[in-house]
Structures are given as structure tokens and as C-alpha cells.
Amino acid sequence: MTTLLEVSGVSVSFDGFRAINNLSIQIAEPELRAVIGPNGAGKTTFMDIVTGKTRPDEGTVIWGERSVSLLSMNESQIARAGIGRKFQKPTVFEDQSVRENLAMALKNKRGPFDVLFHRKTPQGGARIREIAEEIGLADDLPRRAGELSHGQKQWLEIGMLLAQDPRLLLVDEPAAGMTPAERQHTTDLLKRAARTRAVVVVEHDMEFVRRLGCKVTVLHEGSVLAEGSLDHVTANQEVIDVYLGR
């Protein structure tokens, strides 16, 4: 296990409100990590910073074995460097088919002319079917993504993440709005993905986090409150006070 992502001393304020306060987190490769914390703790903002959506006021975000700073890169460069993201609210391209959504995410050259002259390959088609299989949408490839159920959209977005073949997956509340069976499937998907890569999952549901069976980071008011196994952090008095005990 080597460190893949190193966030240190990061702070960000919105109109004077410190959403992230001297936050430091390290993620190894491969690793499965759960990030929990009360609403407004800064979990989504943490992902915004790593993916280039939000620029921090202070701190560093270092990536990969060559220790490049993500803060000097834009969103698409960061994505191409190998960071994929699933949003809290499922965002798939509703007007396009499941296949088109996956094809767009599929790891390929991303320049306009590469895309313009892109030709479908049997390998690409096979990979799309393989992913569709994995996310349970094998029969839905020609369907418009907008017609999918909420849970299916969540999966499609996870599928798009897998298609990107990133080294780090940032997954924001993947199980929101899912049935227990769907949650179970999602847990399996994430655990499988984490065998070869780094996966960071933000989730509220303790049962879900328990099933992930991984190291847990508790965020509170923009910084790390506790870190360790789920049993370890849930025994922490501070965590109980600010999060569990309410």
C-alpha cells in the first residue's frame, strides 16, 4: 500500500464560513475508506476540492507517485489523471442511452479530434457490456438514462466511474434512495472495485458503512474528528457527542 492522495492542512471558506478547516487525509492504493459525519461536515466540499471544483484557501493536495499538486490542475486534467467522482445527486445524461453514457465515460483519448474520429471497437463494446453486467443494467443498454429508476441511475453513475478506470473513486452517498437489496449490491460493487484501487465512500447509513468493513474517517466542522475502524470511532466520546448521540 502506497499513499495515492495526500490532503494536508486544507481550509476553505465560503463568505467567511469555514466549511473545511485544516483538513488532512491520506488515501492509499488500494484502499476502501468510508467518510462519515453530520450534514454540513464538509464531506462533499472535500470531494469538490480533490476534483478541482473548489479551490482551497490554504493547504496542499498531492497526488500519485510523482507527487503532483492537484491544485494546479483543472477539473478535466484531474479526471484524466485518474480521479473519478460520483455525485451526491445522481447526474447521468438523461437524454442519452445507457450505452452512450457508458461509452462517454469509457477510458479513451479525450481530445476533440480523437473523439471526432473515434471508431467503435469490439473491445470497447465488450467492456461496456461487462460493466453493464456488473451494475445490473445489461438489458437496459439501449434505454434512455432518464427512464431509469433512481437506484438504477445511481448504478449507472457508478458504472460510468468504473468505465473511466480511475485510480481513485470518490463516491458521494451512493446508497441514498436505494432499497436494502440495492444497497447490498452497491456494497459488493464498491468492495470489488476497492481490490485494485482507492475508493472513498461518503455515507450516512451506519449499517452500510459497517458492511463495507473498512477504515472510517469522521468529519466534523470541516476537520477530522476521529479515524480508525468503525468500532473504534463509534466508541469515541466526541464522535458520540457530535454525531451519533443526537
Binding site: 477539473e75 485518474g82 447526474t91 462517454m104 476533440p112 473515434h118 471508431r119 463494446g125 457490456r129 473511466q164
Partner: protein
């Protein structure tokens, strides 16, 4: 940074067609059949366009039974050019979501670029003919000076501005038709997209560009004859003996060819993966960035390509119109273009064609006095005045109740699958 994975390694080693045979149910490989064959709507469009062009030819004065006047043939030829700029507008707005209200400026620039050669070459012939009668053969400088007086006399000048440096060369001015709109779009787009100007702010910026350009052209010292514009463009140098009835058909064919090629080009661009990415940018550009696509490059590509096509459309339009002046580039023209596309149905190329053809022909009918006035007793509706009101109301109605436009109705009839 990229980590080779088994699948990507296989892909690169296997090449596009190598490796194992596709499993059953695999998507058929693109490219096996020609593009138009795989897209029946493109084929249908090309057939309809050919039938239209042949039909007009057989009804024309020059090559047919003479049912259509030369001026009407020119109107139809111009309409084809408007359809071409409309599909460009549809690609940039309907597919890529950039509401450019400046594409008619690119159209006008194309017209000016070809107009400069037309005017220069024709004046040169006239001047040479008249100087030939002089006792001494004229020097080259005398010829150029005389052309300058002829062209720029109306703005009280006789000097050739630097802008006209290539006006004597048809090849170079044809290059300018594509190059000038393309470069302007590239620079403007780069500045705007790089700063992530989007939505209504971008529309306002494109209007500002258009306004600045037309105000500049209105000045007498712009080098392009101020508000006089360029005229006599219907006279093609070297073909003075050919009657306008024949020239009108030649331009009709050239316009139809350009529209057909433009349609195939854009249909190809908006199909497949490029189309997928472009529509995704329209629907949620931030999300596309997180997939690793550099959204700004895509917008710049689409903006520039459509500007070039708009320039070509303009270069075919103005020789049929005979005159171009700065009023053509007025900001309102680009707004009309958006209205055509909205009424025709954006996000479908044939919708843009329907919108442009329908609205522009209707517009010339109404404003040309073709539509009978409606006496209401207390008031008489004169369509020359009320046409714009009707157009505005139609635009509002279409936007509110038929967001897919006329092309959307077409969809219902044609589409078999739900």
C-alpha cells in the same frame, strides 16, 4: 499517470479490428457501410434537396419551362444558403447549447470576403476597357488608381485600404471566406470559453461582437465603403455575357451542393461519440469535465467550425442578393437566425432547415406585399408592419408550447419506435 490495465493493453495491442470476433449481440462496427446509408434521415434529406434543385431547374427560365422568374430562383437559392447557416446555428445552439447571437456576423463576413473580389475584378474589367481607348497604354498604377476611384469614390477616397490587399485574387478571397470567420470565432471563442462565460452572458457577448462589427463597417473609413456596402455582386467577372437567368441556376446548384455537404458534415459531427459529448456539454458541462473532457476545446471546435460554414453560406448568398451592407450584420439578424432554429426545432438538423426555409420565405411573402391586408373596419392590418409582430408571437408560442418546434411534429409522424 495512466496505469495500464488489462483491458486497455488489449485494446492497444489488438488494434481497432484485431483480436477476437465480437460476441453475439455486439454493436455492429461503424464504417462498414457509408455514413449516409447508416443515417436514413440524411439520405432522405439529400434526396429531397436534389429533387428540389432539379424541380426548380425544370421550372426555371433558363433551363426549363419558365414558370419561375429569375428573381424567384434567386430567392430560393438564397433560402438554401440561409438553411445552411441555420444548421450551423443548430449545431452550435441546439446540440452544443451555446446560444450564439453572432453567427450572422460570420455569414456577413463571408459575403464581404467574396464581395471584395467580385467588386474588384469587375471594376478592373470596366476600367481596363475604358482605358484601352486612351492614346497611351495605361500603366499598372494608373489602372489600380482608376479602380480605387471607382470603388471608393462614394466614400470620398481612392486609396486601397490594407484590407483589400488580396482582393485581386479569387483564390485568396475564397480562402478569406473561411479563414476570417474561422479566426475571429477562434479568438473570440477562446477568450470567452476560457473565462467560462456561459448562458445569457455569452449570448450578450456575441451580440456585442456583432454590434461592434456592424458599427465598424458603417464607418466610411472602414475600408469597406461604409453604409454603401459592396454592390453589383450579381455580376460575375468574366461571365458578363451569361444572362442572370443562367447565373441564378448555377448559384442555386452551388448553394444546394453546399447545403448538402454541410448537412452531411454536421450530421456526421453530431452523430456518434462526438455528438454524445457535445449534447452532454449542452445538458451538464460541469459533469462532462469530471469525465475528463476539456469542455472548452469542444466548444471552441464547434463554435469555429460552425462560423466557417456560416462564412461559406454568406459567400454564396450575397452574389445572389447582389449587395451587402453593414445593416445585414446588424445584431437583429443573428437573433432572427436563432428564431428560425427555435421555430424549426433545435437539436435536429432538418428542423433548422424547415425553420429557416419556412420563416424566411414567409417573411419575404409578408414583407414583399404578397400577403393581402386584413381590413378590420376600424383598423387595417398591413402585413409589412405586422409581420414582425406575428413572428414574435409565433416565437413565444413555439418556445412555450412546442419546444421541439415544427421538426418535433415531424418526429411524431416519422418515428416508428416509441
Amino acid at each position: 499517470m495512466t496505469r495500464p490495465t488489462p483491458s486497455s493493453v488489449r485494446k492497444y495491442l489488438g488494434g481497432a479490428r484485431g483480436g477476437s470476433a465480437p460476441s453475439p449481440g455486439a454493436t455492429p462496427l461503424g464504417g462498414a457501410r457509408p455514413f449516409v446509408m447508416r443515417h436514413p434521415s440524411v439520405l432522405w434529406f439529400l434526396l429531397a434537396l436534389s429533387a428540389f434543385t432539379l424541380g426548380v431547374t425544370f421550372l426555371s427560365d433558363a433551363f426549363g419551362i419558365g414558370l419561375l422568374s429569375t428573381s424567384f430562383v434567386k430567392t430560393l437559392g438564397k433560402t438554401l444558403c440561409l438553411c445552411l447557416v441555420a444548421i450551423a446555428m443548430d449545431v452550435v445552439w441546439g446540440y452544443c447549447g451555446i446560444l450564439s447571437l453572432g453567427h450572422f456576423a460570420f455569414f456577413g463576413i463571408g459575403g464581404y470576403a467574396i464581395g471584395m473580389w467580385l467588386m474588384y475584378a469587375r471594376t478592373e474589367r470596366i476600367v481596363e476597357a475604358s482605358l484601352a481607348e486612351a492614346p497611351l497604354p495605361p500603366t499598372e498604377q494608373e489602372v489600380i488608381d482608376a479602380i480605387g476611384v471607382q470603388i471608393f469614390g462614394v466614400v470620398g477616397s481612392s486609396e486601397f485600404p490594407a484590407l483589400w490587399a488580396f482582393a485581386d485574387s479569387l483564390a485568396l478571397q475564397l480562402l478569406m471566406v473561411a479563414l476570417v470567420p474561422g479566426l475571429l470565432a477562434l479568438v473570440f471563442g477562446w477568450l470567452a470559453f476560457r473565462s467560462r462565460v456561459t448562458g445569457v452572458y455569452l449570448s450578450i457577448l456575441t451580440q456585442a461582437m456583432t454590434l461592434a462589427l456592424s458599427l465598424y463597417l458603417f464607418q466610411n473609413d472602414s475600408g469597406l465603403r461604409g453604409n454603401n456596402g459592396l454592390s453589383g455582386l450579381q455580376n460575375i467577372p468574366g461571365f458578363e455575357a451569361v444572362p442572370q437567368s443562367v447565373i441564378s441556376i448555377v448559384f442555386l446548384w452551388a448553394s444546394a451542393l453546399a447545403l448538402g455537404l454541410g448537412y452531411v458534415l454536421f450530421a456526421w459531427v453530431v452523430s456518434g461519440k462526438m455528438g454524445s459529448v457535445i449534447r452532454a456539454i449542452r445538458d451538464d458541462e460541469a459533469r462532462v469535465r469530471f469525465l475528463g473532457y476539456h469542455v472548452e476545446s469542444y466548444k471552441l471546435f464547434v463554435f469555429t467550425l460552425t462560423a466557417i460554414v456560416a462564412g461559406i453560406a454568406g459567400a454564396l448568398y450575397y452574389p445572389q442578393a447582389g449587395i451587402i451592407n453593414p445593416a445585414e450584420i446588424a445584431p437583429i439578424a443573428s437573433i432572427y437566425l436563432a428564431v428560425w432554429v427555435a421555430i424549426g426545432g433545435r437539436g435536429r438538423l432538418y428542423g433548422a432547415v424547415i425553420g429557416a426555409a419556412f420563416v424566411s420565405l414567409l417573411s419575404s411573402w409578408f414583407t414583399g406585399g404578397g400577403a393581402p391586408d386584413i381590413p378590420l373596419g376600424f383598423y387595417t392590418i398591413q402585413w409589412t408592419d405586422w409581420w414582425l409582430v406575428l413572428l414574435g408571437v409565433s416565437f413565444v408560442v413555439v418556445t412555450l408550447f412546442f419546444p421541439k418546434g415544427i421538426g418535433g411534429l415531424f418526429d411524431h409522424l416519422v418515428r416508428k419506435d416509441p
